[in-house]
Amino acid sequence: MTLTEDKILELLKEVKDPEIPVISLVDLGVITGIEIEKNHVTVNMTPTFIGCPAMDYMKQDVVDVLNKNGIENHTVNLNLKTTWSSDLISDEGKRALKKFGLAPPPVHNNVIEDLDIIEHAECPNCDSTNTSLKSPFGPTLCRSLHHCNSCGEAFESFKPI
């Protein structure tokens, strides 16, 4: 088998975020680079939040998927060379988040001045923006808590960062 970057990315689509099992690490933007030199594969990953307890699991999952597919000559690095941003989440990833019931983060191009950016997150249940921010901190480091004034549901949003 000739290894290509695209092939490795396709394989890694199998690895999901352990806390949000509908989105792959590739679509989450956590896989920041793949290098292939002869038969050695290097996968670079960057943490969403530096205190995220799921990062070690994610790294192990990447190692497992590579091994399972017969790619044993590899190095998986977790580093900060690329700073993770929610803008790195793919369109497919955003659709998956919404389907899961999590409002996807708005694109911010690194301009987050105040909480206004998440004040009226779009409700994943009814698409209304008549919503209020309850807290910028949710059940995991990457989520915030909201309430929809239209359908009355509480929901969570993936934070722009």
């Binding site: 939040f49 530096i50 700073t83 309850k134 910028p136 949710g138 059940p139 808590l145």
Partner: protein
């Protein structure tokens, strides 16, 4: 810049984050309302994770493993400011401390993000984005509570008055101050302190909370040189209790 100077800088940042992270975690389960309970717990988790990033940098510079550094030192070996080791007190005090501390750290990481030591700059750039949420959380609550009713306002004002001398201790100059400034790593504690005073004044004014004349506030120094209040040693013992049961345990 010598490695000793760099280590001193990294230790004080890491120790502040670890100790305040531990303190904030004391609100877990007893926060004044569910969202705040979760917020303080999340910020605590962020801070402990952030401290780990700096202990890892220190380990790369030849210091011991992060767990060993975090859990086996005595209070007098910690470089945190005394401010972060004070008990959580009432919620108003914890909120004021969170506000004052996070504004300072936000400026610190903004300046370090451009630092010529790439490994340090990478961590600083990452933390800047996370701490922004801590600052926004603090600003929101300070403004809402201080303008809510007289009791809330007075409590915050009293806590602010009590906290300020300790908060100035965050900016206690290190013995390597000039060396670090000359190396272009960051502009020094004095410069961060000046910017901090400007930033907090804007929010406090909106919250109708009064800042005293700075000349009348005497900074509480000592923490950066291992001099601590009686509150730190019990905290360190509690924090390391599980680790000390079996330091070789594999989790």
């Amino acid at each position: 810049m010598t490695e000793e100077a760099l280590k001193d800088l990294l230790y004080k940042i890491a120790d502040d984050l670890l100790i305040l992270g531990h303190r904030n975690s004391e609100w877990t389960g007893v926060g004044p309302l569910l969202e705040e309970d979760i917020a303080f717990s999340s910020m605590a988790q962020d801070k402990v994770g952030q401290s780990l990033a700096f202990y890892k940098l220190l380990h790369e510079l030849g210091e011991q493993e992060p767990d060993t550094v975090a859990f086996t030192r005595n209070a007098d070996q910690f470089h945190n400011s005394q401010f972060v080791e004070l008990p959580i007190g009432e919620y108003d005090f914890s909120l004021i401390r969170h506000f004052l501390f996070d504004h300072a750290d936000y400026i610190r990481f903004s300046t370090l993000a451009d630092c010529p030591i790439e490994e340090v700059a990478q961590v600083a750039r990452k933390l800047k984005g996370e701490i922004k949420y801590h600052v926004m959380h603090a600003n929101t609550w300070i403004k809402q509570l201080a303008t809510a009713n007289e009791e809330a306002h007075d409590r915050l004002q009293n806590s602010l008055n009590e906290a300020l001398p300790y908060a100035l201790g965050i900016f206690e100059p290190s013995k390597f101050e000039q060396e670090i400034i000359d190396a272009g790593v960051y502009p020094g504690e004095k410069a961060i302190e000046e910017q901090w005073k400007e930033n907090i004044a804007i929010v406090l004014e909106e919250a109708s909370l009064k800042l005293p004349d700075w000349d009348t506030v005497k900074p509480v120094y000592g923490g950066r040189y291992g001099k601590h209040t009686e509150h730190l040693q019990p905290l360190v013992e509690e924090m390391s209790e599980v680790f000390r049961v079996d330091p070789t345990a594999d989790w």
